[in-house]
Each structure stands twice: as structure tokens, then as C-alpha cells.
């Protein structure tokens, strides 16, 4: 508990609101939860595990935080089969071989130990993202993307870094971080992450934004969109998300849709335009059919009062 003082020595953010404001300045609209946890991560010196459906801006969060802190973003994309030599470090075998050969050619008769010391030194080390983040002199943000894609065993590679910000290399010793980087791990939740990993992280679940926030996101991210249109877009997307779909539209898909509508010169979304461009929001044929049916109002939806269509008598 006492070591909290160390990371707090030079906090990057003064307050939760400051985080929020600064994220907004780079067009990332956070909510109370997101900003609060970024702030905490900085104060406690802990990594953040960001989970949530695809396309809700998990990766973007890391990028935006890097931007507001003027830090370099180091990204490790995870995939099945990722191993130590791709994530942490690797010895440059070819260079080592050359070094041995060169010393033989030079006939300088250097001792075995000299060579051994020499070929296992920094010059022959290829740093991979994790080690690079640890050794960086300048401020960095480390993004470990889609961590759920690696096997459970590989997760163990990350543990030392995440808890102690250090990497042990048998031949060199332990490399400790010069400064504690902000670390983001993202996961699409295709499998449960191990307890050990979760325990070391702060947990942040990013969900689809509520309507107001989505409208603001559309307004900031899509040039040329009017208030009224953004409002309509956000409301339609909310309605669509309430349907039971294979894959609900993500924020990035909402933005794509908004851009399309702007390009098409649409100022007011009616049922026809909406159904005609649904394939940008939804990616499964069955979802599109379902949403089209709901939006065009062929059938009253499950929660709709029956008999409401066509009552507009006057």
C-alpha cells in the first residue's frame, strides 16, 4: 500500500475531469467511468483491461490517451501462436554468428569468455514491443490489443510486465522500467482471461454509448452532419440495438452510416433511406432483414401497441 506514492510522484492528470476534458480535446468522448479509470490507472500505476463488444472504441481509447499525454504508442497485436520472441525480445542469431566468425577471422585470439559476454549484450538483442515499452526513455503508452486471442499459457508472458514493469532476460538480468507506462489491454471477450491476468489489471467495460453520447460522437466525428440528422441517427441506432440481433451496430458502424448519409446528401432519414442503407450498419443478412421489417413498420414490433398505424385521423 505504501508504494502508491511512487507512481503518483508525477501524475499525468490532475483530476477525473481533466482526463475527460483532455480526451474531448482529441475528439474522444469519454464517460464518467472511462475517464475515472484512466485517472486511477495513472495514479495507481496499474494496467487497464478494456473489455466490450467490437467497435466501441477500445483501441481508440489507448490511442487517444497516448495523444493527450504526448506519448509514443507501442502496440502489440496479439494472435494465436504469439510467443516470447515476438512479444518480448529475441537474440539476433545471425549477428551473433557473424560476430563469432569475425573474431575468428581477425585472429585476435580473444578469450571464450569475452566472446560470450559480447554476443549476449545489448547490441545483439532485438527488442520486441513489450521490452521496448519497458526500456523507453520517452513517455510511452503500451497497447496490448485483443489479448483474448493468445492461448492461456502465453498470457503468462505478460504477467511480469504487468505487475512489476520489468522483464527478466536470463543472459542479461532484469530490465526494469525507467518510468511506468500506461498499459492498455483490450479484449473482445471471446474467452475468459486468466485470473492472474485480471487480478493485475483495473477492469473497464466499454459498452455501446447511450443515445446522448452517441449523438455527440456523431457530431464531433462526422463533418457536415447537422444536429437534427445526428439526433435521428442516434435514435434509430438505439432502436436497432434493442432488437435481438446477431451483431448489434457498433459505434464505428454508426459513424460509417452517418458519413454515408452525409455523402448522399440526406437531411432527414425516413424509413426508405434507412432500410436502403442498413447494410452499412448491419453485417448479417438475417439482421438486415429483421431491422428493415421493424423500421418500415410492416408489422408492429413486439412492444408496440397494436393498431397504432394509420390512426392519424383528422
Amino acid at each position: 500500500m505504501t508504494d502508491t506514492a511512487a507512481p503518483a510522484a508525477d501524475p499525468r492528470f490532475e483530476s477525473v475531469d481533466a482526463v475527460r476534458e483532455r480526451l474531448r480535446s482529441v475528439d474522444y468522448l469519454s464517460d464518467e467511468g472511462i475517464a475515472g479509470i484512466v485517472y486511477l490507472a495513472d495514479r495507481l500505476g496499474k494496467p487497464i483491461l478494456v473489455e466490450g463488444p467490437a467497435g466501441t472504441g477500445k483501441t481508440q481509447l489507448a490511442k487517444s490517451v497516448a495523444e493527450i499525454t504526448d506519448a509514443r504508442l507501442i502496440r502489440l497485436q496479439c494472435y494465436e501462436g504469439l510467443d516470447e520472441s515476438k512479444a518480448l525480445y529475441e537474440w539476433n542469431y545471425k549477428k551473433q554468428l557473424l560476430r563469432i566468425q569475425a573474431s575468428r577471422n581477425a585472429e585476435e585470439q580473444s578469450g571464450w569468455e569475452d566472446i560470450e559476454d559480447d554476443i549476449f549484450s545489448d547490441d545483439f538483442l532485438l527488442t520486441r514491443p513489450l521490452l521496448e515499452a519497458i526500456r523507453a526513455e520517452d513517455p510511452v503508452v503500451l497497447l496490448i490489443d485483443e489479448v483474448d486471442r493468445v492461448e492461456v499459457e502465453t498470457e503468462a508472458l505478460l504477467l511480469e510486465i504487468l505487475s512489476d514493469y520489468q522483464v527478466s532476460i536470463p543472459e542479461l538480468g532484469t530490465v526494469t522500467a525507467r518510468q511506468i507506462p500506461l498499459v492498455f489491454l483490450t479484449s473482445n471477450n471471446t474467452r475468459e482471461l486468466s485470473e492472474a491476468l485480471k487480478r493485475r489489471c483495473l477492469y473497464l467495460h466499454v459498452d455501446y454509448p447511450d443515445m446522448d453520447r452517441e449523438r455527440e460522437i456523431v457530431l464531433t466525428k462526422v463533418p457536415g452532419v447537422g444536429e437534427a440528422l445526428a439526433d435521428e441517427i442516434a435514435r434509430i441506432v438505439r432502436s436497432i440495438r434493442q432488437l435481438e440481433l446477431k451483431k448489434a451496430p457498433s459505434v464505428s458502424e454508426t459513424l460509417d452510416w452517418a458519413r454515408t448519409l452525409v455523402l448522399l446528401g440526406v437531411e432527414h432519414v425516413d424509413a426508405e433511406t434507412a432500410t436502403g442503407t442498413l447494410n452499412i450498419l448491419l453485417k448479417y443478412q438475417s439482421d438486415i432483414a429483421k431491422a428493415a421489417k421493424e423500421l418500415s413498420g410492416d408489422q408492429p414490433g413486439p412492444g408496440r401497441p397494436a393498431g397504432s398505424p394509420g390512426v392519424t385521423g383528422r
Binding site: G36, L44, E232
Partner: protein, 496 residues
Amino acid sequence: MTDAPATAEGVDSGPGDALVELLGGFVVELRQAGIPVSLTEHLDAADAVRCIPLDDREAFKYALAATMVKNHAHWRAFSTVFEVYFSLRGSEYALGDEEPGALPDDLEEGEGGPTGERPANRGGPGDALTPEELAQMLFQALLQGDDAMVRAMARQAVRRFAGMEPGRPVGGTYYLYRTLRNLDLEGMLERLVDQARSDAPEDLTQLEERLQHDEFEHRIDQLKQEIEAEIRRRLVADRGVEAMARTLRKPLPEDIDFMHASREEMISLRKALQPLARRLAVRLARKRRHGRKGPLDFRSTVRHSLSYGGVPAEPRFRYPRPSKPEIFVVADISGSVAAFARFTLHLVHAIASQFSRVRSFVFIDGIDEVTRFFEGTEDIVEAVHRVNTEADVVWVDGHSDYGHALEVFWQRWGTEIGPKTTVIILGDARNNYHASNSWVVKEVRHRARHVYWLNPEPRAYWDTGDSIVGEYGVHCDGTFECRNLRQLERFVDHLV
């Protein structure tokens, strides 16, 4: 560091110890609700709350959640415990009973202040209002989306309609039900939509109307949440935190019992099912690919040995192609176990790609094949719905008759069971004292690769009353208790 600015949340500017103690109690409460909180997480939480301003309730909540709740499915449970445990700590949360004129500002929104636009409406002890007036005010508030007003009305409604009596041992759901029944929110929704329609300058299109409808639905949902929160606050005041936390303890989605799930729990179950199916499919596919090597590929080994001068230095193996099982699901869909059957059918069909073929049969006292509903449609929810409405499963009286159903199954489809088939029978085996015909299961087992029986009842109830699961069980390769998603997931994992 220890002298955090502790001013609110009941930590009356004391030393950090009070906070630590408070947090300790909270952790105990969380663990009892089923959320696993490790010691390190507890310590992290203690660190975290020192870094944030304690008078910011939302930030406080997020800090606790971020450090201790590492699974989104647990969020609801956490939230409930949090609301109960910290509901009365802090003066801002005093009950608004005595002075209805000065409603306490809710910290939750941080904007409760400017509600004074219509002081007349809320003036006086509030009892002066007739229920009709109250409904009318609520209607206006909902129509205009006035959050502060809606919140005030929620409190008023609870006071008026819930009829809460101190010390009365009833659960919060009872009060909630009473309040909601008096408010008639269904009718309210309809009136709101009508109002919006007549307010509109032109005719609303279908789409606009739908959007309006969704908007009002959303507002009414918020109202319900406010009402629930208010009831909870009052109950906590009445009975104390610990007792309240105990009665409000809700099972996590994966622990909800299929047979006794409430409607709300059903919804959360359905939500949990989709990601579960996806996770399961990924895991099963991975399991299939890894950890297996095919048999030695002799030809390839000899070919490659040529480059080593004929020495087979590098053995080659065939690409592993483990066979996928064919699945027959035979499910009882009579009332008591219908929900369980529905979930299992849903799950099995959602991961159908992991099997070579899935065929489903449903029965009550008659039996019908329902595979056709699932074929050619991508919408499993719809298919399951059609199973429930269209399948021909009633033979005589619509009471479970396992004996007859199994016999017909054997006669009509028995010959199609082959050595690659795995038969899964779902049901509680409550046979209403009909003949068991357990020889069918025995025959099926001879032909099939495996026969499993899944029973949604607790093991302790098996073979009591008219349950004859034991009679069938002896002929099965395994009988499994399957009361919740967790157990169901474990079984499916085992299956592949």
C-alpha cells in the same frame, strides 16, 4: 496519503481506518453475493479510494468496480450491493419524507438542483394530490423528458402506492409490484405515444412513430429504476444494510436456476446466452485444432526422407481431422422444464458448426421433429419460438408421458441412429406415473455412440415423487444435473 479528504459517504473526516473498515464490510458483502474478490483486489480497492475525491459518488463506485469486479456479467450484482451498502451513508441520502418541498438533490446526476420551476405542483405534503393528478404530472414529466421531475414523481409514487410499513417482512419486489400496478405504465406509454402523435404538426411516419415509442419506453424504464432505487433506500432505512443486502442478493446470470427464473432473470439469461455460445464455439474449435496430431503420413514421410538420403529424419503426420459428432437432442418441452429445453436447444444450435449435424425432437406426450425450424433460418430465437408454437407434441392430454414419447421416437427415428450419433435427452423425467419404457433408452444406447440425460432438477429431487430419472439413467452413459448456464456450459464442453 492516509489522510484522504474523507468527508462524505459516512466517513466523517476520520482517519483512513474508518474507510478501510467500511471497505472490508463491503468486500464481505460482495463475496456473499457470489463475486470473487481476491485479497490483492481488496488492497487495490483500498489504494484506489485514496486517490479519488470521496464526495464524488460515481467516481467512488467506478473505482471500486474497476478494482474488484473483473467480469461484466457481475456488474448488476455489484451495483445492487453498492446501492444497498452505501445507500444511507451520506447526508444527501436522507429520505425525502418529512420535507417534500425540499427534495434532496441526488448526487447521481449532479443536476438535481433546478427542480423548482413548478414548486406549486410539489408543494405541501403531496398528499393533497389525487392519484389522477399524480398520474397527470407524471405524464407531463415523461412527455417532456424532465429527469428531475420524473425522479421526484418516482419518490412520490412510492410513498403513495407502495404502502410500505416498517418491519413488515416482505421483499422489495412486492412493493415494486404494488407501485407499478397503481401507475399503469403500459397505459401511460400508449397515452404518451398518442399525445406525441397529435402534437406533431404533420402525420408521423411509421419510423418516427417507432422512434417516439422507443424514446418513451426508455424514459419509463428510467422511471422504473428510480422507483426501485427509492424502495431500496426506504427498505434499507427500515431494516438495516446487512439484512437488506441478504434479501436483495440476486444470483449471477450463470447461476440462475432455469426452472425458477423470473421474467427479468430470463431476459438476463438470454443476454448471457449469446456471448456464451460464441465463446464456446471458439473454444471448441480451438480444442479440436490443438493438442492432436493425425496418424503418421507414410507417403509424405518417405518423400521428405529423400532430401536426407533416404533416412526418414522428419516424420510427417496427416492433418488431424477428428470426426464431429452427430447430435440428436430429444427435449421435453412441457411447462415445468420448457425454459431449460429452450436454452439448451438454443445453445446447441448456436454452436451447430461444431457438430456434423444437429437434429432436434421435442415432446410432451407426443413427439415431433423440429429440425426443420432451425434449417434455412439464421435466426435461432425465431426458430425456438416456432418450436414452442408450431411443433405437434400433444398426443392425449398434454401431460408429460416419457414412455409414449420415447416409444414413438424409437419407432420413427430409431433406425437413423448410428455409431456416430450422440443422443441427448432433456427432461426432469416426471412421468405422471405412466409406463417408463426404459428399454428404448437401452436400445438407443446400443446403436448410438453416447446417450446422455440432462436433468434441470437438483440432484436431491431425483427419483422422488413421479420422477423416474434413475430408471432411465442406468441405461445412459451419464446423467447430468443442469440447473444453470454454468452447468450447461460444462456439459457442452464435455460433449466435444
